[in-house]
C-alpha cells in the first residue's frame, strides 16, 4: 500500500503536470501589474514549503516564461513599488503601494459554513463544523487546521460585498472606475486594486483611516445630529438619503429595511410590537412616492427604536473587508491569469460591468478533458453547469477541472494504473 506521504507526492506531481500543460497553452493570459519592474514577485512551489521571493522581471514576457518553466502552485506580486525589488525587505526602498482590498468568504458570516467548513485542533485532534472556536473546547488550545470549501452561496455573498465596496470607493472616495481593478482570487474571494498616483503614497495609518470608513468604525451616532421631534408622533431628523457619506447611506438603508421588512425580521432585531405595526403600515408609502419623508415618522417609537435601526443599518452597510490586507503596505497578492494552487481555478481580472453576472464556477474554470481519480470524501458541489457529489471513497471519472479541484483540496488522489 502507498503511504499517505507518497500519495501526497503523487498528487502534487500530477497537479503540477496539469498546471504545466495549462501554462504552456495559456501563458499569454497572465497579466502584468503596472510598473512591473518595480514589483517584487513571489512563488510557491509544489515541493513542500518552498517559497521563492524577491524576484523581479523587467517585462511580462520574462514573467510568463519563468512561470511556464518552474510551474509554481501559486504566483504573487507585491502591492508595493520598490527601487530595488530584489533586495532584502529593509533595503528594497519603498516607493509606494497600490491600495488593496480583500474580500474573502472566510471573513463573512454565512449559515452554510456550518455545513461545508470544518476545523480540527492541532493539539488534541478533535474536530467540528463551521469556523474554529477561539479556544479548543477539549484541550484549550488555540491552533486549528481549517478545511474550508468553495461554495456558491458564500461566493455570492463575497460578490455582494465587493459591489458595495466599488460603490463606496467610487461615490464617496471619488476614485474613477478606470482606476479600480477587480480580480477573482481563484478560491474564496475577490481583490480590489486601486492603482492610481493619488493613493500610492498613503502610509499605513492613512490606509487605516480609509479602512475605518469602509467598515464604519468609529461612527459616532451622537455626531450625526440626529434629533427627535416631540409631539404625538416622534419623528427623526438629521438624516437624509441625499446626504453624502455615512449619513446618506444610513438613511437609504433604513428606508430599505422598512420597505423590505416583515414582522419576523423586525422582531428579531429587537423592535417593539407598536413600532413594527407602524413600520409595516408605512410600506406602501415608501415604494410609491419619491420624495417621501414618512419613513421618519413612526408611531410608538423613540430614540431607542431609532438606535436599534441605526445599528442595524451600520451592520448592513459595513463592507466585510479583511482589514489587515489593506493596511499592510508590503502585501503580496495573486497575479491575475495564474492558477490558484488550492483549487486549480484561475485567478482572473473581471470587468466591473461584468461583475454582477460573474460566475466563478464557470468563468474561472481552467481545464477541459477528463480524469479518473479516487475521492476520499467531498460534499456536493457545482462546477461549470454540473453538480457533483457527495462522494465517499470512490473512483470517479470527472471533468478535469472538477478532478483538479478535489485533488488541490486534498480530498482525492490520482488513480494509478
Amino acid at each position: 500500500m502507498n503511504s499517505l506521504k507518497e500519495f501526497k507526492k503523487i498528487t502534487q506531481t500530477f497537479i503540477r503536470s496539469k498546471f504545466s500543460e495549462y501554462y504552456i497553452k495559456n501563458k499569454n493570459t497572465i497579466l502584468a501589474p503596472s510598473s512591473i519592474e518595480n514589483r517584487e514577485f513571489g512563488f510557491f512551489l509544489f515541493a513542500e514549503n518552498i517559497v521563492i521571493r524577491h524576484k523581479t522581471f523587467q517585462k511580462i514576457l520574462e514573467l510568463r516564461n519563468f512561470i511556464t518553466n518552474i510551474v509554481p502552485s501559486d504566483v504573487y506580486h507585491s502591492a508595493a513599488y520598490y527601487n530595488d525589488p530584489e533586495a532584502p525587505m529593509d533595503k528594497k526602498g519603498w516607493k509606494g503601494s497600490d491600495l488593496i482590498f480583500d474580500i474573502d468568504a472566510d471573513h463573512i458570516e454565512t449559515e452554510c459554513k456550518k455545513k461545508h467548513d470544518t476545523w480540527s485542533c492541532i493539539d488534541c485532534k478533535i474536530s467540528g463544523l463551521g469556523k474554529p472556536p477561539q479556544y479548543c473546547p477539549k484541550c484549550g488550545g488555540f491552533k486549528f487546521n481549517q478545511n474550508s470549501w468553495m461554495c456558491s452561496h458564500c461566493l455570492e455573498k463575497a460578490k455582494e460585498e465587493i459591489l458595495k465596496l466599488i460603490d463606496l470607493i467610487h461615490l464617496d472616495f471619488g476614485i474613477n472606475l478606470e482606476n479600480i481593478r477587480v480580480n477573482f482570487s481563484g478560491h474564496r474571494g475577490y481583490h480590489l486594486h486601486i492603482d492610481s498616483q493619488q493613493v500610492r503614497n498613503l502610509d499605513t495609518e492613512d490606509r487605516k483611516e480609509i479602512v475605518d470608513y469602509i467598515v464604519g468604525t468609529g461612527l459616532d451616532t451622537n455626531l450625526l445630529d440626529i434629533w427627535e421631534a416631540s409631539g404625538k408622533i416622534k419623528s427623526i431628523g438629521g438624516l437624509s438619503p441625499n446626504d453624502p457619506g455615512w449619513r446618506g447611506r444610513l438613511a437609504k438603508r433604513i428606508i430599505r429595511i422598512f420597505s423590505d421588512a416583515d414582522k419576523e425580521t423586525l422582531k428579531s432585531i429587537g423592535l417593539k410590537p407598536q413600532a413594527i405595526d407602524s413600520i409595516l403600515s408605512l410600506q406602501t408609502y415608501n415604494s410609491n412616492t419619491n420624495q417621501d419623508t414618512s419613513w421618519r415618522m413612526i408611531k410608538g417609537t423613540g430614540k431607542h427604536t431609532w438606535n436599534i435601526l441605526i445599528q442595524r443599518a451600520i451592520a448592513l452597510e459595513s463592507v466585510g473587508i479583511d482589514t489587515v490586507v489593506t493596511t499592510d503596505i508590503h502585501r503580496l497578492i495573486r497575479v491575475a491569469g495564474t492558477l490558484n494552487g488550492k483549487t486549480g481555478l484561475k485567478a482572473m481580472k473581471i470587468e466591473i460591468e461584468e461583475l454582477p453576472e460573474f460566475n466563478p464556477f464557470k468563468q474561472a474554470v481552467a481545464f477541459d478533458g477528463y480524469e479518473t481519480i479516487h475521492i476520499e470524501e467531498a460534499p456536493r458541489f457545482m462546477l461549470g453547469d454540473q453538480e457533483y457529489g457527495p462522494y465517499n471513497n470512490v473512483n470517479e471519472k470527472l471533468p478535469r477541472s472538477a478532478a483538479l479541484l478535489l485533488l488541490c483540496k486534498r480530498r482525492a488522489h490520482p488513480v494509478m494504473n
Partner: protein
C-alpha cells in the same frame, strides 16, 4: 494675496520662505550688529514657545525681523539635541499660527492651504451644507488628522462625496496647524553641527530648556515591557512619548492599562509629565481615580477590544489579537509565552 504683514504672521508660508531666500543672509551675518535683533527675536520665540506658549504672538513693528526670526529659531532648534523639546517647540509655534488663522478671511486660509501646502480644494460653491466652507480632498484630509483623537475628525463621521470632505474654516486652520507642526519637526530633525558663531546663543537656549524638568527624556514606567504591549496600547504609548496628544478615551485606556499592568502611580505620573498637554492636577486626579484610590475604590480596567475597535483605537492587531478580547489578556499571554 499675501502681504508683508501676512508673511510676518505666517512665516511658514512659501511666500515668506522666498522672501528669506532672496536676502541671502549667511549664518555669520547673524551676529553682526544689523542682524542682532533677528537673533534676539528668535531667542524670544523659543523662550515663549517652550515656557509660555500662550504669550506667543507676532511682533509686528518690523516685519522683516519677524519673518527672519522664524527660520533662525528653527535652525537653533535643529542644534538642540532633545526630541521632546523640538516637539514642544513645534506644537507651540503651530498652535499659535492656527489661533491667528482662525480670525482670517476664508480666502486667506484657502490661499495659504493651497499656496504653501498644495492642498487639493474644490472651488467652494454650492452644495456645501450650512456651516461648512471648504471641500478638501480626502487625501490631504487624512494626512492631517493623524494626531486628532476626537471622533468628530474621523472620516467616518464626515460628509464625504466624490473624494472631498466638507470642513469649516476653523477646521482648515486646525489642519494647517498639523501641516506646520510636521514641517517644523522635519526641519528641526536634521541635527546640524552647531555653528561657532551661534555658540553663545545656543548656551542660552539650553538654559531655557532646563528651566522645566519636564523636558528631560522620560523613562518607561518601571516593570512595563514595551515589547509586550498590544499594538493599540503601543500606539497610544508612542504617540504620547513623541509629545503627541491623546483623546479622552485614549488617555483613559493607556493609564488604566499601565496601572493594571503593575506600574506605580508615581511612574505613570512621571510618564505623563512628558505629554504635551500635561496638566499636573488633572493627571494626578485621573491616575488616582483609575487606580482606585479616589472615588469608587475600584480599579478601572482598560476597555475591551470591541470598544476600542468601535472607537478606532484598535491599531494593526496582530496574530495574538485574534485570540484575545481584552488588551490586558494580550499582555499576559505575551509574558507567559516569554517565560516558556
Amino acid at each position: 494675496m499675501i502681504s508683508e504683514r501676512d508673511k510676518a504672521r505666517y512665516p511658514f508660508t512659501t511666500e515668506a520662505a522666498d522672501y528669506v531666500k532672496k536676502l541671502r543672509i549667511e549664518i555669520d551675518d547673524l551676529i553682526t550688529d544689523p542682524y542682532k535683533p533677528i537673533l534676539k527675536r528668535a531667542e524670544e520665540r523659543i523662550r515663549q514657545a517652550l515656557l509660555k506658549p500662550d504669550d506667543l504672538a507676532p511682533q509686528e513693528q518690523d516685519p522683516s525681523i519677524e519673518i527672519l526670526s522664524f527660520p533662525t529659531a528653527i535652525m537653533l532648534m535643529a542644534c538642540i539635541d532633545n526630541e521632546n523639546v523640538k516637539r514642544r517647540y513645534a506644537v507651540a509655534e503651530s498652535k499659535g499660527f492656527s489661533k491667528k488663522l482662525k480670525d482670517e478671511s476664508l480666502e486667506k486660509v484657502i490661499g495659504i492651504a493651497q499656496g504653501t501646502f498644495d492642498w487639493n480644494i474644490k472651488s467652494k460653491g454650492q452644495n456645501l451644507r450650512e456651516t461648512y466652507e471648504i471641500f478638501l480632498h480626502f487625501i490631504d484630509y487624512i494626512k492631517n488628522i493623524k494626531n486628532m483623537n476626537d471622533l468628530k475628525w474621523k472620516l467616518t463621521n464626515r460628509y464625504l462625496k466624490d473624494g472631498y470632505v466638507e470642513i469649516t474654516k476653523n477646521e482648515a486652520a486646525r489642519l494647517i496647524e498639523e501641516e506646520v507642526q510636521s514641517k517644523i519637526l522635519e526641519k528641526t530633525k536634521r541635527k546640524i553641527e552647531p555653528p561657532k558663531a551661534l555658540k553663545e546663543i545656543l548656551e542660552t537656549i539650553k538654559q531655557i530648556t532646563m528651566e522645566k524638568p519636564v523636558f528631560d527624556t522620560f523613562d518607561t514606567p518601571s516593570g512595563i515591557k514595551v515589547e509586550n504591549m498590544p499594538p493599540c496600547i503601543k500606539k497610544l504609548f508612542d504617540t504620547l512619548s513623541a509629545g503627541g496628544r491623546l483623546s479622552h478615551l485614549g488617555r483613559f485606556t493607556l493609564t488604566s492599562f499601565l496601572v493594571n499592568a503593575g506600574a506605580t502611580e508615581e511612574d505613570v505620573m512621571n510618564f505623563f509629565k512628558s505629554a504635551s498637554d500635561f496638566d499636573e492636577n488633572k493627571t494626578k486626579y485621573q491616575i488616582e481615580h483609575i487606580s482606585g484610590r479616589k472615588g469608587g475604590k475600584t480599579k478601572y480596567k482598560p476597555p475591551k477590544c470591541d470598544t476600542l475597535k468601535t472607537h478606532g483605537l484598535c491599531f494593526s492587531p496582530d496574530e495574538i489579537c485574534n485570540r484575545i478580547a481584552h488588551p490586558l489578556t494580550y499582555y499576559r499571554l505575551k509574558i507567559k509565552a516569554l517565560k516558556k
